[in-house]
């Protein structure tokens, strides 16, 4: 039996690491991967609450989070592909124009 507080602490730390990666990385693909790390951290806390309250609805919420993460990956990488057609490289610091 894993204590729920430890799971929530782990979830907070993973979310913070993902937040640092999302805000700080220059590579736009790794920013998207950091979003995946944050979504995964939320899933950890949902699963922990599901066990803590003995209720399967937490796991179902985590399943929906995974489905939305897959959709986000598809759309996000499509956008990155469209961006990199116009301008090679994936550094967000080069993207300073709204249109070109």
């Amino acid at each position: 039996m894993v204590p729920v507080g430890a799971c929530l602490g782990l979830s907070a730390v993973l979310f913070g690491i993902g937040l640092i990666g999302f805000l700080g990385r220059r590579n736009i693909i790794l920013m998207l991967v950091s979003v995946e790390i944050m979504l995964n951290a939320v899933n950890v806390s949902l699963a922990a609450f599901s066990q803590h309250l003995q209720d399967p609805r937490g796991q179902i919420m985590a399943l929906f989070v995974i489905a939305v993460a897959a959709a986000e990956a598809a759309v996000g990488l499509g956008l990155v592909l469209a961006l990199s057609r116009n301008r090679p490289g994936v550094s967000v610091e080069d993207l300073t124009q709204l249109r070109w």
Binding site: V2, G5, A12, I17, L23, R25, V33, A71, L81, V92
Partner: protein
Amino acid sequence: MAIVAGQIAFYYLAGASIASAILAVTRRNPVHSMLWVLALFLHVAGIFLLVGAEFLAAVQIIVYAGAILVFYLFFLMLLDLPREEAGPPFGAHWPLCAAAGLLFVALAWRAQGPGLVPAVPRAAAGGPPPGSLSAVGMVLFSQFALPFEIASLVLLAAIVGAVVVAKRKTDS
């Protein structure tokens, strides 16, 4: 004995996932970052197993590690970024980002303690345990049937949207 083993496994999995998340965020080479994210996802699947979410662990490995991450890796190789390792991995504003992340962790750590309700005791025998696959399936296809269908619509919209966004513009 089993409780102690479970706690040792939890602390190993937690430490390994935090270490691989830090490495994933800080590595200069994007492919190395992706492989550390893979390690992170596998360890998180182990944590799901420990908290009794077997189906979620399987989905984590099949969908996250097997599909989404491989998609990212393919995409990285499609774009072919030879100069990515030359520059710094973080922008010039990274101390601000680190401060924001640490502040978030501190706030979340402080906030989680007081509001926690005591654990619900495991129900007596009769019916499947709440975390098991049959319990999840029963709730998913009765109470959550409509959200389940909406999730499939979201995925369809994402597929069509990705194709439309990434399509090469043709002059006609």
